[in-house]
């Protein structure tokens, strides 16, 4: 990890974003909006939160390409699993 770059990260600001997105998701879920729309927004917020944690707190942005490749492989398998299972639900 590049120490100088890592030290320039404002971890407190990242935390504020994480808390804001978490509380925002909860408030959004209580609004009288179409369910599908709400669910999509909530999972977009969850993905952004996960990205903030992995990118800034886990310092993925400073890591060698080996590490992203290592974690993207099972995530790709996870995506394929969902895609393969989806027709079974959609056309049941």
């Amino acid at each position: 990890m590049d120490r100088a770059l890592a030290h320039s990260t404002n971890y407190r600001l990242v935390l504020y974003w994480l808390l804001g997105l978490a509380i925002g998701s909860v408030l959004l879920s209580q609004l009288p909006l179409p369910h599908t729309f709400t669910v999509v927004l909530i999972f977009v917020a969850a993905t952004v939160k996960a990205w903030l944690v992995v990118w800034y707190f886990m310092h993925l942005r400073f890591e060698h390409m080996l590490i992203p490749a290592l974690i993207l492989t099972p995530m790709l398998a996870f995506a394929i699993l969902l895609l393969v299972l989806y027709p079974d639900i959609a056309w049941r």
Binding site: M1, R3, A6, H7, Y11, R12, V14, L15, L18, L19, A22, I23, S25, V26, S29, V39, I42, F43, A45, A46, K49, A50, V53, V54, Y56, F57, M58, E63, H64, L66, I67, L70, I71, T73, P74, M75, A77, F78, L81, L82, L85, D88, I89, R92
Partner: protein, 197 residues
């Protein structure tokens, strides 16, 4: 009879890796954990879409309590990155309180989670009540076990810090942090899946 020449044992030179072996090992472990939780979440998504009635069970969950737990875990993720930051600055003693706060966060999360589970048991909601509750107890239970494991690791590092023995193993704060952040990421997805969707 021919004798084979005496040869020197082959000693493989150590492989040069761009990533320290300990960190690489931790990322490998986390990669396998993605498969574990990913498999569970995939099964839940498929089952949930096939059983729209599970939304009624989901509404029995306390969103406020889960939100509080989410905040606790997010803040503890910040405290452990601050511990790592202190180590990176060469200030090992400063890492001690941050590790302590992270341990408290983990314990608070487990306390809130156990209170939530107790409430469900008191209302007669058990893992075999229906498919939703099976997934709920399995996923939150497995996650809580991971939190417990993280607390144990952090306690070990904190004790080393208290005894002034953290310096030689200071790099392990980063590895413990990677694990703790992963546990946080899993909860980031479990929370909306079970409580909000």
């Amino acid at each position: 009879m021919q004798h084979s020449p005496v040869t020197q044992p082959v000693v493989a030179p150590p492989m040069a890796s761009p990533v320290p072996s300990g960190k690489l090992g931790m990322w490998w472990f986390l990669s396998s954990e993605i498969v574990t939780f990913g498999g569970l979440i995939s099964c839940y998504l498929v089952a949930r879409l096939l059983h729209p009635s599970w939304a009624d069970s989901s509404q029995q969950l306390n969103v406020l309590v889960a939100t509080l737990n989410t905040i606790v875990l997010l803040v503890s993720s910040w405290t452990i990155v601050m511990a790592h930051d202190a180590v990176e600055h060469g200030d090992v003693q400063q890492a001690k309180p941050w590790l302590g706060y992270t341990i408290l966060g983990g314990l608070l999360f487990l306390l809130i989670k156990s209170a939530e589970w107790s409430g469900k048991f008191e209302h007669g909601i058990l893992p075999w009540s229906n498919g939703f509750w099976s997934f709920y107890f399995a996923m939150t239970g497995l996650h809580a076990l991971h939190v417990l494991g993280g607390v144990v690791i952090n306690v070990a590092l904190w004790i080393a810090a208290v005894r002034g023995r953290l310096q030689p193993i200071a790099h392990r704060v980063e590895y413990a942090g990677l694990y703790w952040h992963f546990v946080d990421v899993v909860w980031i997805f479990l929370f909306p899946l079970l409580y909000l969707a």
